[in-house]
Amino acid sequence: MTFELSDRVQAVPPSGIRRFFEIAEERDEVISLGVGEPDFATPWAARDAAITSLEQGKTSYTANRGKRELRESIADYVADRFELGYDPDEEIIVTAGASEAVDLAFRAFVDPGDTVAIAQPSYISYEPGVIFAGGEVLPVPTTKDDEFRLTVEGLEQAGAADADVLVLCYPNNPTGAIMPAEDLEPIADFAREHDLMVFSDEIYAELTYDGEHTSIASFEGMRERTIVFNGFSKAHAMTGLRLGYALGPADAIGAMNKIHQYTMLSAPTTAQYAALEALDSCANDVQEMVDQYDRRRQFVLSRFREIGMDVFEAKGAFYCFPEVPDGFTAEEFAEAVLREQGVAVVPGDVFGDVGEGHLRVSYATGLGDLRQALDRIEAFVDEHV
C-alpha cells in the first residue's frame, strides 16, 4: 500500500538544512559552524546525578508534569534569574525538551484557521508546529537596521494586530539578537491591546552577553497571556537529555498537560535528575561556558568585519548572522563555501524569507576550529569577491 500523507504533513516542505547535511557528509574535514547545540558536555555534577539515579533504579515514570522537586527548583530558578513567579503545582510543566513544550502549546491553543504571528528570522520548528496544529503562519519580518529586534511598526505592517498568537524567541536563533526590557515593553503593550497570546521561547536566556535577559511575561498584565518556554539544552549543555519546561497560567498549563499526559506521559526520568542537579549546583559551569561563548562571539564578529562581511552585533545565543557579499544568494554562498573550503554554515533563508542574504554562523565550536573556519571563509571571499 502507499501511505496517504495527511494534508498537514504534506504542507510542510523538507527541511532546508537537510540538503546541506548531505553535501557535508560527502566531504572530509568539514569544519561545521552549522550546529545549534553546545560543544560542551553536560556539567559533570549533572551527569553524575543522572548516573546515580540509574544506579538507584530510578527508572519509572514521574508525575505527568514532572517531578515535584524539579518543578519547585525551576520555580526558584526563574524567580531568581528572571523575576518570574510560577506555582510549581499548577503553572509549570516539565517536557521532553523545549521542543515538546512548543508543540504542546501550538496544539493546545491553535485551532484550524487561527493565525500565529512569528517574528522572523525564526527558529525552524515554529512554522511546521503551527501547520501541524492546523494554524496559519503570519511572518513578521525584522531587519538588520533594527538589529533584528521586533518593533510595533513591524507588527502593525505585518497585520499582527489580527493574529491570535505571537511567537517570540529572544535571544534569537538564528540572528543572536536580544530584546532588552525597553524594546519589549511596547511589544507587551501591543499584545495586550490586541488581545494576543504570546509564546515566548527563552531557551537562550542565560546566553545573554550584554545586560540581563528580560522575559516578556514579567511585564504588567502579560503573565496572564504568556507561555514561556525554557529548557536545559543550551545553557546547561544537555541537548541529548531532552529536557525542557513551560511556564504559564494554571489553566493553560493544565491544557498542555492534557495532551502531554496522553502523548509523552512524562519527561525522561534520568534527565529530570540531571536537571535537578544542574539547577542546584551548576551555576558556575554555566557561567564558564557563557564566558567562553562570549570570547568566541567577539572573535567571530571581529573576524567577519576584517574579512569585510557586514555583521551586526549579535548579543545573545551562540549565533551570528553576517551578510553574504554581493553577487551571491545565501544558499549559493553557503554551498560554495562548503564545497570549496569545507566550512559548513546555514543559509539564512532557511529561517524565513527575510533571512535571505544572510548566513547563520554558530560559534558553539572550539576556538581553534573557529579560527580555521574564518580563515577559510576569508580565503573564499578573497578569491571570489
Partner: protein, 161 residues
Amino acid sequence: MSEREVLELLRENARYSTADIARMTDLEESEVEATIEELEAAGVVRGYQAVVDWDKLEDERVRAEVELNVTLDRETGYDDIAERLARFPQVKALRLISGDYDFDMEVEGDSIREVSQFISEKVAPVPEITQTVTHYVMTSYKENGIELGDGEGDDRLSFSP
C-alpha cells in the same frame, strides 16, 4: 579585569596571537601586548611551554612523582632544601604540600635507570631528606588541563536546528 582574561587565554593556548586575544577580549592589540609584557616583567607569566603527550612519540621518556620527607633543623628550612633540589634540571616540578609527606617532586629522564640513579645519587643523600618514595608514571591522561590520548572528536551533526 583584562589581566585575568589575558592570562586565562594564554593558559588555554599560549600560541594565540595578540591579534586573536584582542579580538576575543575586545581590547586593542597594543593593550594586549602591553598587558602581556607587564605580566612577564612582573614575573606572573614565567614561561611558555608545549604540552606533550610522550606516549605518542617513539622516544622513551620516563617520569616519576617522588614523595619526599624532610626534617628541619635550626639552620635549614623548607626553602633551603627546595632551592637545592630545584636547581637540578631533572626536576620538572617541586611543591611543598600538606599531608603525609612534605615535598612533591616531578622528575624526568630518558630511562628508569637514569631516574633511579638521579634519586639515589643526588636526592636521597641530601642530609635533611629522611625518606623518598618514587612512583613511576605509567600513563598520563591529562597534563596542564589538557586531556591526552585520542579524544573522540566532534560527532555532532554537521547541521542542526
